[in-house]
């Protein structure tokens, strides 16, 4: 059952009550009318009885009057000596008061029934006795109701001597009115209906009489009084109902309706809660007022809670958009602001500045993460101080920052960029224990007159940054059309190539550089090196990896490389039994998908007939942030049969520190360390030799890369290196020979 609103319920109640009142009023009205009608019937019957009684009295009166006249001496006198009959008839009878006033005429008839003297004029009795007396006949003459009454006249009551007859003509209405004071019957419209010209005895005339009923003024007055009272009562109740409805509406329905609306509004997520204006006015119903106060208190508390939540939300929102380390806006804020600006919107006087710290990995490796963090904070602080008041500084990740300058022409943007460089240069990095200052590269791009969208601006800034990162480039590069076409073409092709290669590992064209076992200088396995064949051009690693690192695509790219190597193993490009070394970046060693793919590859090769040696080279060890997970994953790889090599040992990315924590099998000396064997001073050479000795003594196999000459080879053989690789043994991809061949 659907619930009803209080307004509708009240309306139904009021309408029902109103209909009930009207119904009751109608019922009582009907009852009064029925009672009146019943009284009318009763009065009609009373009128009939009244007329019957009056008729009886009239007949009696006529008899008595006639008999009195018949017994009158002078009547007999006229019947015997009618000489003066006319005088007697016309004067004497009336003068003697022997005749009622309702008698219109009198006549005497002799014994034969003939009138004593014909009467002229009306009303008159007939000349002949119409029948045997006594006789009473009703007549209607000229609309007048008359009764002719005839009675025999005897000489003496006891003698029985008939002298003649007496005729009397009565006015029936007068006689009836004289006989009775009518309360019910209205004889003014008396009608006596007789069939044809028949005559009736007055005693039997009642059945033929039609007459009205007098209006009972008391009854009419009472009926009107009752009906007026009923009408007034009904109207009063209806007005009271309307008043009650008004009270109900204003004191109950509307407050409840408002309560309901408020509560419904609170249920709506989008509602602005709470407004509560309606509930500021006190209500007149005590219980509702209590509810109002409670609800108002609740609303106020809810408002406070809501405000608190909103503040928290704003705080959380702000915090979510802030970089915890530096306090500047983070990548998320950058993406949102970028989105809000509109990626396809044509920009006018907007400049995009990208900042990237130079050699930050080396700083981290050299001075530790805390110093690295301090450097990042210092860069953020310096950049923020160099920007204008309303400019936002975003940390996009690691050591990468950016800002979008609105209302900035190229000169202005360039000035701000230079001011950023100046601020950073002025910063004293020695306070962090650093011997050299940290530097940044800045790529600047701008759209002056709506010619670029944000995405296009981003690409240009990337290219500018790419250019700034190139050796011998200025630290701040503003994108320009002159230098941009080729660079942009290359850059765009490289970027596209990287993304396409990740989606399609078939684009990866792997080359394998031999790793020789020493001292016999025998090829033991090959190191897989990556190139991309895209649009007919071969993109080399020095173009690939900056993009991979800049786009944070390390894991995805390594996964594509593993699939490419598996492809080469499957199609025989890597001959069976040919060991292979695969480079994994720091993010990849802690990436489950990459590790799983690597383990699958190792397991497949371990069960393959003849098997092959799989070496996993972990690069940029310093960037590993989850050392425990990395160690666990390395342990799994080793347990599966793979060997693990620590790449770039001695560079900024790898140091002795990681040997203590990472379970590796091989240590691969960075080429820069080997350069020290040739160019370094004796002390540096000694340290290098001692480190090599120490690593070997610890049980690791030691790999030297970058061997280009025989002298270098001899030197490292002398130092005890177990493996070597470099152009001395051939350029990568020149040939892949079966095991045992050099």
């Amino acid at each position: 059952m659907n619930s009803l609103s209080i307004g509708r319920l009240s309306l139904i109640f009021v309408l029902t009550a109103g209909l009930l009142v009207i119904g009751l009023g109608g019922y009582f009205w009907h009852e009064i009318s029925r009672a009146t009608e019943s009284l009318g019937v009763s009065e009609h019957e009373s009128a009939r009885q009244e007329v019957a009684q009056a008729l009886q009295t009239t007949v009696q009166h006529m008899r008595e009057s006639g008999q009195a006249l018949a017994n009158w001496d002078e009547t007999r006198q006229q019947l015997v000596f009618p000489e003066y009959y006319a005088l007697w008839r016309d004067n004497r009878v009336r003068d003697a008061n022997m005749m009622p006033r309702s008698v219109l005429a009198v006549a005497l008839y002799d014994k034969s029934g003939s009138i004593l003297a014909k009467q002229e004029g009306a009303p008159a009795l007939p000349d002949r006795l119409p029948g045997k007396a006594p006789l009473s006949i009703y007549l209607s003459v000229a609309g007048q109701h008359q009764v002719d009454y005839y009675i025999p006249v005897h000489a003496d009551a006891g003698a029985g001597i008939l002298l003649g007859y007496l005729g009397l003509k009565f006015d029936l209405l007068n006689e009836l009115k004289r006989a009775h004071s009518f309360r019910y019957a209205d004889l003014s419209g008396l009608v006596v209906r007789l069939p044809g010209n028949s005559r009736i005895d007055i005693e039997n005339s009642l059945a033929h009489m039609r007459f009205g009923v007098l209006k009972n003024t008391n009854q009419v007055a009472f009926q009107r009084l009752f009906q007026d009272a009923l009408l007034r009562l009904t109207l009063a109740v209806l007005v009271s109902l309307l008043f009650a409805a008004w009270l109900l509406r204003n004191f109950l329905v509307r407050p409840l309706h408002n309560f309901s609306n408020e509560i419904n509004a609170m249920r709506t997520v989008s509602a602005n809660l709470p407004h509560g204006l309606i509930f500021k006015t006190p209500l007149h119903i005590t219980e509702l007022e209590s509810v109002r106060q409670a609800f108002s208190d609740y609303q106020e508390r809810l408002a406070a809670l809501h405000e608190s939540l909103a503040q928290n939300s704003r705080d959380f929102f702000d915090q979510a958009r802030r970089d915890a380390l530096t306090g500047v806006y983070n990548r998320r804020a950058y993406d949102e602001d970028w989105h809000s600006l509109g990626e396809d919107r044509r920009l006018t006087n907007v400049a995009l500045l990208l900042f990237d710290c130079d050699h930050f990995k080396a700083i981290n490796d050299t001075y530790g993460h805390s110093v690295g963090d301090a450097v990042i904070r210092a860069i953020a602080t310096s950049l923020q101080a160099a920007l204008r008041g309303g400019d936002k500084l975003y940390r996009l990740g690691g050591d990468e920052f950016s800002t979008v300058l609105v209302d900035a022409d190229p000169l202005h943007a360039e000035a701000i960029a230079e001011r950023c460089l100046d601020h950073l240069t002025a910063h004293d990095f020695r306070q962090y224990g650093m011997s050299e200052p940290a530097t940044i590269s800045i790529g600047v791009a701008y759209s002056q007159a709506g010619e670029l969208s944000l995405s296009e601006l981003q690409k240009r800034a990337d290219l500018a940054m790419y250019a700034a990162k190139r050796p011998d480039s200025p630290k701040m590069v503003i994108y320009s059309e002159g230098m941009g076409e080729l660079t942009a073409l290359v850059a765009n092709q490289s970027i596209n190539a990287v993304f396409q290669a990740i989606r399609d590992p078939g684009l990866l064209e792997m080359t394998y550089q031999a790793v020789m076992h020493l001292p016999l200088v025998q090829k033991e396995y090959v190191e897989a090196l990556t190139r991309i064949r895209f649009n007919g051009e071969l993109i080399r690693p020095d173009a690939i990896f900056p993009i991979v690192q800049a786009r944070k695509l390390d894991s995805e790219f390594d996964l594509a490389v593993i699939r490419a190597i598996a492809r080469d193993m499957a199609n025989g490009f890597l001959p069976p039994g040919q060991g292979v070394s695969i480079n994994l970046s720091a993010p990849s060693i802690v990436n489950a998908k990459v590790v799983d793919a690597m383990l699958e590859l190792v397991r497949v090769q371990s069960v393959h007939p003849g098997g092959r040696k799989i070496v996993v080279e972990i690069t940029e060890t310093a960037l590993i942030t989850q050392m425990e997970l990395a160690s666990a994953n390395i342990g799994q790889l080793r347990a599966a049969g793979a060997l693990v090599a620590l790449d770039d040992f001695g560079s900024g990315y790898s140091s002795l520190r990681y040997l203590a924590t990472m379970p590796v099998d091989l240590v691969k000396f960075d080429i820069s360390m080997l350069r020290l064997l040739e160019n370094g001073d004796p002390r540096q050479k000694l340290i290098l030799e001692e480190i090599a000795q120490m690593v070997l003594t610890a049980g690791y196999e030691l790999v030297a890369e970058g061997i280009e000459t025989r002298a270098q080879l001899d030197k490292i053989i002398g130092m005890g290196f177990t493996h070597a690789q470099g152009f001395y043994f051939g350029k990568p991809g020149e040939e892949i020979e079966p095991l045992g061949h050099s």
Binding site: R76, V80, E83, Y84
Partner: protein
């Protein structure tokens, strides 16, 4: 007191024996009367009522009762006055066509009726104008059985005018009668302020003047006695004196009025009885 009670009881007893009598007159009109039979040997009294009255008139009834109680046969007839079976006093305004002679004729019929009843002697007693009626009868149709006439409160048919005017009226009436004019006319007559009568009827009454009454009474061969009330206001102021002067026997009851009612009815009865005894 004892006497009154006795008489009252006797009256009731006698009246119970009053016999209604009807007698058809020569003109076919029936007259009514009341007859009380008395003791044999005693004269029969014929009581004649006054002007327009009947035998039911109280003075007549009381006197009849008293006489019957005394053992006299009493006949109290009602003159018809032209009304058959008349039993009511005839109203002054009624149409009067009867003459005083008509009444005398009816008295003669009743005398005959009494004679048929073997009345040995008859005494006529008239009250008021009834006295004149009996006198008229006696003057016209005297019967030998009638031995005495007693006039009680005897009075003439009086016009309420002086003598000269009365004569003038009479003359006019005579002229009308002579012309045969039967047109009714109204006249203040006797106790009637408006008496409606034919000229002949009226004239018959007016012609019996006091003088004619005295003269006629004086010349009757039978004793005539008048019993008058000293307080009778219906008679002329000197009527009693005129009666006395005419040597007629007059008995005056002191204090009695015209109707001899009250205690005077007994005085009347006593006087009548005295006259009867003296017959």
């Amino acid at each position: 007191m004892v006497r009154w009670i006795f008489l009252a009881l006797a009256a009731v007893a006698v009246s119970a024996f009053a016999e209604p009598v009807e007698l058809q007159m020569p003109n076919k009109v029936v007259a009514k009367a009341e007859y009380r039979a008395g003791e044999a040997g005693k004269p029969t009294v014929l009581l004649m009522h006054g002007f327009l009255q009947t035998h039911e008139f109280p003075t007549i009834q009381r006197l009849a009762d008293g006489l019957a109680s005394a053992g006299y046969s009493v006949l109290a007839p009602t003159l018809t006055l032209g009304v058959t079976h008349r039993k009511q006093s005839l109203a002054c305004e009624a149409i009067h066509t009867h003459t005083i002679g008509d009444g005398a004729k009816e008295i003669a019929q009743w005398v005959n009726w009494l004679k048929a009843r073997n009345a040995s002697s008859i005494v006529l007693v008239g009250h008021s104008f009834g006295s004149v009626e009996t006198l008229v009868y006696m003057s016209a149709q005297r019967d030998p059985l009638v031995r005495k006439l007693i006039g009680v409160s005897a009075v003439e048919g009086r016009l309420k005018v002086d003598g000269a005017q009365r004569e003038k009226v009479i003359e006019e009436l005579r002229a009308l009668v002579k012309k045969g004019d039967k047109k009714l006319f109204t006249q203040a007559f006797s106790f009637c302020p408006k008496y409606l009568a034919t000229p002949q009827s009226m004239l018959s009454h007016l012609e019996w003047t006091p003088e004619r009454i005295l003269k006629t009474a004086s010349h009757l061969p039978i004793p005539v006695v008048f019993i008058m009330g000293s307080k009778d206001d219906r008679i002329g102021v000197n009527w009693i004196d005129q009666l006395r002067k005419s040597r007629l026997k007059v008995r005056v009851i002191e204090g009695a009025n015209h109707f001899m009612d009250g205690d005077f009815e007994f005085d009347l009865l006593d006087n009548v009885l005295l006259e009867l005894k003296s017959l």
